[in-house]
Amino acid sequence: AQSVSQHNHHVILSEAASLELGCNYSYGGTVNLFWYVQYPGQHLQLLLKYFSGDPLVKGIKGFEAEFIKSKFSFNLRKPSVQWSDTAEYFCAVNAKGSSASKIIFGSGTRLSIRP
């Protein structure tokens, strides 16, 4: 069965620091990968996604993620964070194939940015 691991539960950074949030998945086949973000008091929304092609994916607000198939990873990065990036971030995976409609989320990483 597919699963997603986010190893960092809570990350605290100062403004302008660089960010990398880890995401690893377990599934032997082809996958679609997602990062979602939940800002305080707002709905979950898509940050970026990978379906195929260039493994380096760029999303909204300066975020990017790199799919490394050999490592089963899809880490999220941002070179310089802002206070407004304070939010909870969720990695998600969808296994292409028989369970094509199922998406599994990780446990989330809470990001706190000190102004």
Binding site: Q6, H9, N32, F34, Y36, H43, L44, Q45, L46, K49, F90, A92, N94, K96, A100, S101, K102, I103, I104, F105, G106, S107, G108
Partner: protein, 113 residues
């Protein structure tokens, strides 16, 4: 444009009482529909998903059930609530059969006392 509604926004129910949470989507047809439970530190737990009317896939065996009586309506139910059913319930939809971007509703905060 598409919108997704969930109600009620908050609910406090006694143990052993029934539950019915409703989710509706507007502005699209034949969406995939999902129910998740979000708990602090545990992320989003997929409970049920549906690719069409009357088609429900259950991910977590428990005392909850889901139904899809209409194309854009998804209902989460229980006959008898447990304390452990407390949590934040999110409904989401995505386009067609291939999983794509999910669009989330505002959620329902359920407290079972």
């Amino acid at each position: 444009s598409q919108t997704i509604h969930q109600w009620p926004a908050t609910l406090v129910q006694p143990v052993g009482s029934p539950l019915s949470l409703e989710c509706t989507v507007e502005g699209t047809s034949n969406p995939n529909l999902y129910w998740y439970r979000q708990a602090a530190g545990r992320g989003l737990q997929l409970l049920f998903y549906s690719v069409g009317i009357g088609q429900i896939s259950s991910e977590v065996p428990q005392n909850l059930s889901a139904s899809r009586p209409q194309d854009r309506q998804f209902i989460l139910s229980s006959k008898k609530l447990l304390l452990s059913d407390s949590g934040f319930y999110l409904c989401a939809w995505s386009h067609d059969r291939a999983a794509d971007t999910q669009y989330f509703g505002p959620g329902t905060r359920l407290t079972v006392l």
